[in-house]
């Protein structure tokens, strides 16, 4: 938490919190408080849908209780379809991070049709933190698993994850490189000799390793203990399994490259594997506009 103010501001200057009057509302606000403290952010509390005077008073009370009634924080009450309204507000307010509570797993029907949090995660233009087990006494993120798969967005995602890990003083950061066996199988079926296949494989892996090492060289990792691990399997699925098996408390993934629809849930790939059954809290990193231009 000793980061320079500049770095803090660069990460998440404005954080929006999707507020639903569920039993977890206090825990979500507690997490928001922690984020604000660490990143020195402005908070925006968004509630979409009908609300009563009683609810307004309750939210104001909670905000006061958590010491969040600061001049630069504000509450936005809106009506209409929740996903569309929250997306519009995030865009209008130039939010850097959207925070929302999410269930680890939903019923198949709800998953296919899409819950509010999952719909937001597939469409939001800023980064999004999905909290599966928000706590009234947040303990930060100590065991972070980050995507290291070869992709133009990965560099930015790792950089955000490292900043976050430093801010939270994470004890363990694992960067996971995923090797898709189905792609290697295609090469193998071209009747190559075993050593030729291995050479192709090694060449690909060496290039990927060099990219990750270059990213880490350029990042200020401080005293963080970063582990690099390569796992064979479908991208999105293996990292989710790794996070689950290693009891990670935060999984950091790239944002989807395009708007996802129902077919992406029927034929899941990448982030959809995580959304189908969240192993822990999930941070989806969306490059900011200027970073996005570099990525493109």
């Amino acid at each position: 938490m000793e980061n320079s103010k500049t770095e803090k501001q660069q990460l998440f200057e404005k954080i929006a919190v999707a507020v639903a009057f569920s039993p977890r509302i206090e825990a979500i606000l507690a997490q928001a408080k922690e984020l604000q403290k660490i990143f020195n952010s402005h908070l925006l509390f968004i509630h979409v849908g009908e609300h009563t005077l009683q609810q307004e008073q309750y939210l104001t009370h909670l905000i006061h209780r958590f010491g969040l009634d600061l001049p630069h924080n504000k509450i936005v009450w809106d009506s209409g379809e929740p996903v569309e309204a929250i997306l519009a507000i995030c865009q209008k307010e130039q939010v850097d991070l959207l925070v929302a509570g999410a269930l680890e797993k939903e019923s198949i029907l709800k998953y296919v049709m899409g819950s509010v949090a999952r719909k937001l995660s597939r469409r939001v233009k800023c980064s999004m933190l999905m909290l599966t087990e928000p706590s009234i006494k947040p303990n930060g993120f100590k065991n972070i698993v980050v995507v290291g798969t070869d992709h133009p967005k990965t560099e930015n995602t790792i950089s955000v994850a490292i900043s976050l890990a430093k801010a939270y003083r994470a004890q363990e950061v694992s960067i996971i490189q995923e090797s898709d066996p189905s792609k290697l199988a295609i090469i193998r079926s071209d009747e190559l000799l075993e050593h030729e296949v291995e050479q192709h494989k090694d060449k690909i892996q060496k290039e990927e390793d060099e990219k990750i090492e270059e990213i880490l060289r350029c990042s200020d990792c401080g005293e963080l203990q970063i582990k690099l691990k390569r796992i064979e399997g479908k991208p999105g699925y293996v990292i989710t399994q790794f996070a689950r098996e290693n009891a990670a408390d935060l999984l950091v993934l790239n944002s989807p490259d395009r708007k996802m629809n129902i077919l992406d849930r029927v034929f899941p790939h990448d982030i959809e594997h995580a959304l189908a059954d969240l192993p822990c809290n999930l941070l989806i990193v969306n490059p900011k506009k200027d970073e996005d231009d570099n990525v493109a």
């Binding site: 070869d150 133009p152 066996p181 189905s182 792609k183 290697l184 199988a185 295609i186 090469i187 193998r188 079926s189 071209d190 009747e191 190559l192 030729e196 050479q199 192709h200 060449k203 690909i204 290039e207 990927e208 064979e232 399997g233 479908k234 699925y237 293996v238 490259d257 395009r258 077919l263 992406d264 029927v266 034929f267 899941p268 790939h269 990448d270 594997h273």
Partner: protein
């Protein structure tokens, strides 16, 4: 129940043993010249079958590939099983999630790469039907659809290797093209199944019934079936010996799927192809397991299938220069135009797009399977079959040198890297 006589059993076993060894020897010899194994296997069949050895020394040829009635029936059963397994493995290469992840760009690229060859092939066959020789004249429409489909097929492994040589296999563009080629395969085999369904003379169902069941089968297998298979694999992994358990279950389901599609009036291969996709998409399938299935099928059953082709058709008597030149020219023109335009749209530079065109122009083993099935269905003549096989071989052979020329690569990138 009738059974093979003692000498027929010996003959069958002898045939299988010799075919496997000869196929391997020829395959390896051709691979030394950077040609696909399948070309060597085919050539072995042609040289040892009625085209050459059988013409002058029929007894000797008969030892390798017995023509006795009962043994022929047994061999025919084995080659039918082989082609079903080959399509199962081809299905395993189709990665639906990759196609989805690449989105509409891959579909557009695929569409251009597929629709142009298909349309040109269809148009040409429909309007110049007689130029293709003496084929099934009863239904020009079905014949033209077949030619369109034959022009659209491409060999996925060859395109993968092309992209690897280009150094763009792992890039976004590379993945778009791989996804497009996979989508081409999927659509190509559906189209071919529909074409066979339209012929329907062999079975008793009407076309709408067959077509409806085909779509239903594919839709169920690729959604519910795929999910069930994905859930069943970890269970089987825990309770069965592995990978033996996987081999039994996956191939067993492939045969069940094949039996179903054969029953509803389209070819058995389609059922196996779809089951292959459902298995190949599983997140629990490791590289090692994939490799075992692939090695088992491509090194035992594929050679038997490809060598046997040379024994079934006389390539010398049925060789027709005009038809072969027409099929070859049409195939190259169709695929080069279509696939290159598709790759260009996908974002490649013109010379790279042309390289991809040549890569996708390689028809490989799949085209030969397609042609043999059409021959068995009496849709095409032996002359056209020979022309298509030659086209498949030539396009596969020319892919490598054409790429080297276009990309100014040295002939063996890997060998050079070794030094």
């Amino acid at each position: 129940m009738s059974k093979l006589a003692h000498n027929e059993v010996i003959s069958l076993i002898l045939s299988i043993g010799m075919m496997l060894i000869i196929a391997r020897l020829f395959g390896e010899m051709f691979r030394k010249f950077r040609m696909p194994l399948v070309v060597g296997e085919l050539v072995a069949g042609v040289l040892l079958g009625p085209s050459l050895l059988g013409r002058y020394y029929p007894e000797m040829s008969g030892i390798i590939f017995s023509t006795g009635t009962n043994v022929s029936i047994a061999m025919s059963g084995i080659t039918s099983i082989s082609v079903i397994m080959l399509l199962f493995v081809a299905g395993m290469e189709v990665d639906l999630s990759l196609i989805r992840s690449q989105g509409s760009t891959a579909v557009k690229t695929s569409f251009v790469g597929l629709i142009i060859p298909f349309a040109l092939g269809y148009f040409f066959a429909f309007n110049f039907y007689n130029l293709f020789g003496d084929n099934n004249a009863n239904d020009v429409l079905v014949f033209s659809l077949f030619i369109g489909t034959a022009m659209s097929i491409s060999a996925l492994p060859v395109i993968a290797r092309t992209l690897m040589d280009l150094g763009i296999f792992k890039t976004r563009i590379g993945m778009i093209i791989i996804a497009a080629a996979m989508f081409d395969d999927l659509v190509g085999w559906i189209l071919f199944s529909v074409v066979l369904g339209m012929m329907k003379g062999a079975v008793g169902h009407n076309f709408i019934f067959t077509f409806g069941l085909t779509i239903l089968y594919a839709a169920i297998m690729l959604t519910v079936g795929r999910i069930l298979i994905n859930k069943a694999i970890p269970w089987a992994q825990k309770n069965f010996s592995w990978p033996g358990g996987f081999l039994s279950i996956s191939l067993g389901l492939a045969f069940l799927g094949a039996a179903f599609t054969e029953y509803i009036g389209i070819h058995a291969i389609f059922g196996a192809f779809i089951v292959g996709i459902a298995f190949g998409d599983s997140v629990h399938l490791t590289e090692k397991t994939r490799e075992i299935v692939q090695q088992f099928v491509t090194n035992i059953f594929a050679p038997l299938f490809f060598v046997s082709i040379g024994f079934k058709v006389n390539f010398v008597d049925n060789f027709n220069l005009e038809i072969t030149a027409l099929v070859l020219g049409l195939a190259i023109a169709c695929k080069l135009i279509g696939a290159s335009l598709g790759a260009l749209w996908g974002g490649l530079k013109p010379n790279e797009a042309l390289a991809v065109g040549f890569g996708m122009n390689a028809r490989g083993a799949m085209e030969i399977i397609l042609a043999l099935l059409a021959l068995q269905a009496k849709l095409i003549s032996e002359q056209l079959f020979v022309a298509i096989v030659i086209m498949a071989v030539v396009t596969s052979i020319m892919a490598g040198p054409a790429l080297a020329l276009l990309l100014k690569l040295k002939p063996t990138v890997l060998e050079n890297e070794n030094k």
